[in-house]
């Protein structure tokens, strides 16, 4: 299959303001056909507004949106047939069964798999005749995904697909999403879970205050902060007297950041940096109370760019 001539989604200089806040502030995005693209950002970053504008559910104040080479203004009917959409916290009717719900959604689309096949794809066969009201959170979320798949979409939009689910239910949903991506279709998902973005997404845009502040593959983004590892340590009250200047000159340490009660170091070569750091702390007579290291994640990218954590409320 030759790749289509246009990207699956092209967003140019998108803006949207609500009465109380600017939700999207000059956003640019490009999602390639066949990739899974993640919008990662804290709550209130403008992810949902952005995805709903792309889904044709919210009108933008200005900017261009092109989905599958089509625009909402002129080809909405065609677009609706080709998109699969899952909204954040939709409550499907509790009184209908899984099969009845999917049969309803299936009836809206010109083409698509049989209802039983969609149910099998999201592994809800045992619940096919059960009322939606009796499903667990994870099962409801899989049903919502099934509704999005009812029209055999070319492009799947998922808004916070695993928020509020337990770890097992999240992994199950990730498997289903990966299977859809493996069939060559495009996905745009929003999330505030860095592990979700790292696991599912080919490329990620990090959003904050209605703008993208970084874009690339998870690996590129992690590399961009200058180190693959992080060291976090605290030394109680003695942290105040610490000379950070000296630490940043240690070989392998790229960045030193003081946080309330602890210090974060961005590190390229952990095996060299740790002994050198311990020596330096001993020399400065700083007693360690805690020392942790981990591989850098998208969370660290966000912290590096904004100084805040993704899940700060």
């Amino acid at each position: 299959m030759t790749p289509p001539p246009h990207p699956a989604l092209r967003v140019r200089n998108l803006r949207k303001a609500f009465a109380d806040a600017t939700a999207v502030d000059g956003l640019d995005l490009e999602v390639r056909a066949g990739e899974c693209f993640g919008l990662l950002g804290p709550n209130g970053a403008g992810k949902t507004t952005t995805i709903e504008i792309c889904e044709g559910l919210t009108a933008a104040d200005s900017g261009q949106v092109e989905v599958l080479g089509l625009t909402w203004a002129t080809q909405a009917g065609e677009l609706r047939q080709r998109l699969g959409i899952q909204l954040q916290d939709t409550q499907l009717s509790d009184k209908l069964t899984v099969t009845e719900t999917l049969r309803l959604f299936r009836s809206f689309f010109r083409r698509g798999p049989e209802v039983a096949e969609v149910i099998a794809r999201v592994q809800l066969e045992e619940k096919a005749a059960s009322r939606v009201g009796g499903l667990s959170g994870g099962q409801k979320q899989r049903l919502a995904l099934a509704c999005a798949l009812a029209g055999d979409p070319d492009f799947l939009f998922l808004d916070e697909p695993t928020t509020g689910l337990d770890p097992q239910a999240r992994r199950q949903l990730w498997d289903l999403i990966e299977r859809f991506r493996a069939s060559g279709r495009t996905i745009l998902l929003t999330t505030h879970y860095m592990d979700e973005a790292e696991r599912l997404c080919d490329r990620v845009a990090i959003m904050d205050h209605g703008k993208t502040i970084a874009q690339g593959t998870p690996r590129e983004l992690i590399a961009s902060i200058g180190g693959e590892h992080l060291i976090e340590f605290s030394a109680g009250d003695a942290t105040v007297g610490l000379n950070c200047e000296v630490l940043s000159r240690i070989e392998g340490i790229r960045d030193v950041r003081r946080e309330p009660g602890s210090v974060r170091l961005m590190v390229t070569e952990l095996h060299r940096a740790v002994p050198a750091l311990l020596d330096e702390l001993t020399r400065q007579h700083i007693p360690l109370t805690e020392l942790r290291t981990h591989s850098a994640t998208l969370e660290d990218v966000f912290v590096g760019l904004t100084g805040r954590h993704l899940r700060d409320e």
């Binding site: 609706r80 009845e100 009836s107």
Partner: protein
């Protein structure tokens, strides 16, 4: 789409969903089907027509008591003069007869129709006993016909009230609930034609209407012998027009509201005046003439007036045309405004 079955048409699926949601809601079933029947049964029993009552008259005289007993409409008792006075005061007796022929005295309250009736019956009985012969012979033929009882008046009122409640609540709650749960937003994210969504509410309502009308009228006819004198198709047509006008009103009420509480308030505000003014339990003619044209313009008044005229007086299409016209205007105006205002998200 020719290879897909009729059942998989989106409009059919949406209507089926409405139907299932309704039938799986026990409370809704109660209010739509059971409640009006219980109400009709209760009121029918409370206001049933009793046999004509006999009136108690008292007298201290044995001769007068004998004369009075010849009249079937009177319950004549001989008591002491003091007891007679006490019974009249307390309302147990409507009339005290004292004295003896040729001069008798009637003591009664002339503002009480029972007292006046008792006086006439007692006087006639005493005169006949004293030997009066009437120049004209009269005889009675008693008429107690269905159609003029309170239950006959009540059933069309209850049916109208039921059509209003089920349509307005059915539309209002379902739409606001779907909007609140973002289900409506999810549906418009599919290629579903929006008009199908709204049409499904109307179609499921009309289908339920058949069950509802048959249940209420069937009960009224079988249990109380309420007459259906007019053409049944006119009756059915007026039920459909009525239900459509209430659907339109319900849609208008629900067109922008986001919470169930706000919808409840609006629905009650719209329905309360009609419950009082539109003649469900008593004739709306009792209100001052100046406001009658306004009351007749209310959709519930139009439905109830037309149902009563059809069921009780046998009115056909021509006679209920004014009411049909009122309902038609409500349908067109409310649907048009509701579609303009409707909030899909």
């Amino acid at each position: 789409m020719s290879n897909r079955s009729f059942r998989d048409h989106p409009l059919v699926q949406l209507t089926l969903v409405r139907f299932r949601e309704f039938l799986r809601e026990p409370e809704a079933l109660f209010w739509v089907f059971i409640f009006p029947i219980l109400l009709a049964a209760g009121l029918g029993i409370a206001f049933r027509n009793r046999p004509a009552e006999v009136i108690r008259v008292v007298t201290p005289s044995a001769a007068l008591a004998r004369a009075l007993r010849s009249e079937k409409g009177l319950d004549a008792r001989q008591v002491s003069a003091a007891q007679a006075a006490a019974q009249l005061r307390s309302g147990k007796a409507a009339l005290v007869v004292s004295g003896a022929p040729p001069g008798v005295l009637f003591r009664y309250d002339d503002t009480n129709p029972e007292g006046r009736t008792a006086r006439m019956l007692a006087d006639a009985a005493i005169q006949r006993a004293a030997g009066r012969t009437d120049p004209v012979r009269s005889s009675d033929s008693l008429v107690r016909e269905p159609g003029s009882r309170y239950i006959d008046f009540l059933v069309p009122g209850l049916l109208g009230m039921n059509l209003m409640g089920s349509a307005i609540w059915g539309m209002g709650f379902a739409i606001v609930d779907a909007r609140r749960k973002k289900l409506m937003k999810r549906l418009i994210a599919t290629p579903m034609p929006r008009r199908y969504y709204l049409m499904s509410f109307v179609f499921s309502r009309l289908a339920l209407l058949v069950i509802e009308v048959v249940a209420v009228l069937g009960f009224a006819v079988l249990a109380f012998g309420v007459p259906l004198r007019g053409p049944v198709w006119v009756l059915g047509g007026m039920c459909v027009l009525g239900s459509l006008s209430f659907c339109a009103l319900g849609l208008l009420i629900a067109s922008r509201v986001r919470t169930i509480e706000a919808a409840s308030g609006l629905m009650n505000t719209a329905m309360m005046p009609m419950w009082v003014l539109s003649g469900v339990f008593f004739s709306s003619q009792r209100f001052p003439d100046a406001v009658l044209p306004l009351i007749r313009a209310l959709p519930l008044t139009a439905v109830i007036d037309a149902l009563r005229a059809n069921m009780l007086q046998g009115a056909g299409a021509a006679q209920v045309a004014p009411q049909a016209g009122v309902l038609g205007i409500w349908i067109v105006v409310c649907f048009a405004v509701a579609l303009k205002l409707f909030r899909w998200k």
